[in-house]
């Protein structure tokens, strides 16, 4: 089995941070109906909210379109926390433990 943390891609990500944000119509707009036209990364949030993961460029577009943006948190672009990644040894040991005693008809 290969290293559980293979080499990252050489190309740098297009953005260094995203923002988790909610939006409201703002003074110039009556509703949020048209926000889907912006093709943004909408994620589910608490009931009824339009919650987005946006880049700085997205933020500018939203404001230009008259939306009021409430930034909840900044999310730096980073790999998954290494502490959340399984390692090869423990994963294979887990499988061996699960299937112990079952007849292996293959090799």
């Amino acid at each position: 089995m290969s290293d559980p943390r293979p080499e990252p891609e050489q190309r740098a990500p297009a953005t260094t941070a995203r923002f988790e944000a909610t939006i409201s119509p703002g003074e110039k707009r009556r509703s949020l109906e048209d926000v889907a036209d912006l093709g943004l990364d909408r994620v589910p949030g608490p009931t009824g909210q339009v919650r987005l993961l946006i880049t700085t460029d997205d933020l500018v577009r939203l404001v230009d379109h008259g939306y009021e943006v409430n930034v909840k948190r900044a999310l730096p672009v980073r790999p998954l926390d290494p502490g959340l990644v399984s390692d090869d040894g423990s994963d294979k040991a887990w499988l061996e433990e699960q299937v112990r005693g079952i007849d292996r008809q293959g090799t």
Partner: protein, 491 residues
């Protein structure tokens, strides 16, 4: 903890190598955009070809990390249960060894744990909130196609959360099925028998079914996606447009969706909402809509009931909602939901036809009566709902008892002969064996609801003495199992 792509591939490789009596690993025809192999795993037990199939897909959206792990762990759980004859315990929901045996010996479970390996690798090594695949969008600085917008169902129609911009996180790609990762899913659907399908996503605790692009309606069959232009990079643009679905299919989606939600709730009380995809937000080109739409776009294709799961709750922020520090409990919920979908994919009549009457095709006249007649009225659909409620508890009883099995085959054969001859009359000599059989099934069942349903069937059977088979079917279309008149709909 989350497995790397290599670890997921290694696990499926071990399972196929060690237990070929259960698993077949298939390398799909197309490597990912970056050249990684993509594997599907077939899980089944015992002999029998031409089985109904269930396809479970994970990892479509890269950052939704827990579902590929849940799918491979489900495979291991089912193997262990079948091999050792042990129950599968998911919190408060026990999947008995008998239930698992019936699923594995009846169905082909097709598992595609990680359909987007490049995306998963990128999440683990560069950007943990990456959603798309890793397509290099030539001529732009932006990468990736949203695989769940790339399928051929109103592809390129930017209704709601779909975009034609390569820089958008919901970019639908340059054409339908432009991506090898979605073509691999299509390959599985084109190549194998798939009757039920789930694309497993995160998060928000939902069980979604078609349609996702417009409200669903059951009265106007002329409003069909096949009449709409695609690739327009514009919304649907027909004010008030609502997509048609037959009443019986809507009933089936609602019933099965709720059973999936119930199986999840039984684990530890999490309440998943079952609803059409549009309830989350409008989309086009998604897996579940495409998979169900195939038989409408091409009547030569099999109908597949398709769902999208959204596993796990909102935790207060997007990052930990997509990949919580400990997803164990959410994966347990998801596995129970996936098992419920598989179980609901079993068709008792097909099974009895295949095992006891020498072939599933023998029961096709009954299927025609169900679809062309019984399902077209509200009362008829109540009969279908009753049958679907009782078939799973009863099929294990019937198949586990040689006498009941043989008698089921005789009664089914009688039913088929009656359907073939519309003028044949249901005499006392026909009804009595049926009544006796239903009585014994009720005695064998420990489920109060099943017994109540069977009592209702007996009462209604009694009233059918002397009717021709055509009249009996008419009667079922007119009055539901409780004897109440239904309204005639969708005729």
């Amino acid at each position: 903890m989350y497995r790397t792509v290599a670890q997921l591939d290694a696990l499926t490789g071990f399972l196929a190598a060690w237990f070929p009596q259960y698993f077949l690993r298939v390398e799909l025809p197309e490597p990912s955009v970056q050249g990684r192999p993509v594997y599907a795993l077939r899980l089944r037990a015992g002999p029998g070809e031409g089985r109904r199939g269930v396809l479970l897909v994970g990892g479509t959206h890269a950052r939704e990390l827990m579902n590929p792990d849940a799918i491979v762990e489900l495979a291991v759980d089912l193997l262990v249960s079948h091999a050792n004859g042990t129950d599968v315990l998911y919190g408060g929901r026990t999947w008995t060894a008998n239930e698992v045996r019936t699923i594995l010996e009846t169905l082909d479970l097709w598992l595609l744990p990680c359909s987007n390996p490049d995306g998963r690798h990128y999440v683990m090594t560069v950007d943990d909130l990456w959603r798309k695949n890793r397509r290099d969008n030539i001529g732009t600085t932006c990468d990736g196609v949203d695989l769940n917008r790339n399928l051929d169902l109103l592809w390129g129609v930017t209704e709601g959360q779909t975009s034609c911009s390569p820089c958008s996180d919901v970019y639908c790609g340059p054409s339908a099925f432009s991506e090898p990762e979605t073509r691999n899913v299509k390959h599985l659907l084109d190549t194998y028998r798939i009757d039920c399908f789930a694309d497993v996503h995160s998060y928000s605790e939902l069980v979604l079914y078609p349609w996702g692009h417009a409200p669903t309606q059951t009265v106007d069959p002329t409003q069909r996606f096949t009449t709409l232009p695609t690739g327009t990079c514009a919304p649907i643009g027909r004010p008030g447009y609502q997509e048609y679905m037959t009443p019986q299919d809507l009933q089936r989606f609602q019933t099965v969706g709720q059973r999936i939600a119930d199986a999840i709730a039984a684990v530890r009380g999490r309440v998943y909402t079952s609803q059409p995809g549009l309830g989350l937000y409008a989309t086009t080109g998604t897996h579940d809509d495409y998979v169900y739409s195939r038989h409408i776009a091409d009547s030569g294709l099999r109908k597949t009931y398709s769902y999208t799961f959204e596993t796990g709750p909102w935790t207060g922020d997007a990052r930990t909602s997509f990949h919580p520090a400990d997803p164990t409990l959410i994966k347990r919920d998801a596995k129970s939901g996936m098992l419920a979908l598989a179980q609901q994919c079993i068709c008792a009549i097909e099974l009895i036809g295949a095992r006891l009457l020498g072939g599933e095709e023998r029961i096709s006249p009954l299927r025609r009566v169900r679809d062309a007649l019984v399902a077209t009225t509200e009362a008829g659909r109540e009969w279908i709902a009753l049958f679907e409620r009782v078939q799973l508890p009863l099929v294990e009883i019937v198949l586990g008892d040689e006498g009941l099995s043989a008698e089921a085959a005789e009664l089914l054969d009688l039913g088929l002969r009656m359907v073939d001859d519309e003028q044949s009359r249901l005499g006392r000599e026909h009804i009595e064996p049926g009544l006796s059989y239903v009585r014994r099934l009720a005695e064998a069942s420990r489920d109060e609801r099943v017994r109540a349903d069977l009592d209702a069937v007996r009462a209604r059977l009694e009233q059918m003495v002397g009717l021709s088979s055509a009249e009996a079917i008419e009667e079922m279309m007119r009055r539901g199992p409780g004897g109440q008149a239904g309204t005639r709909a969708a005729e």
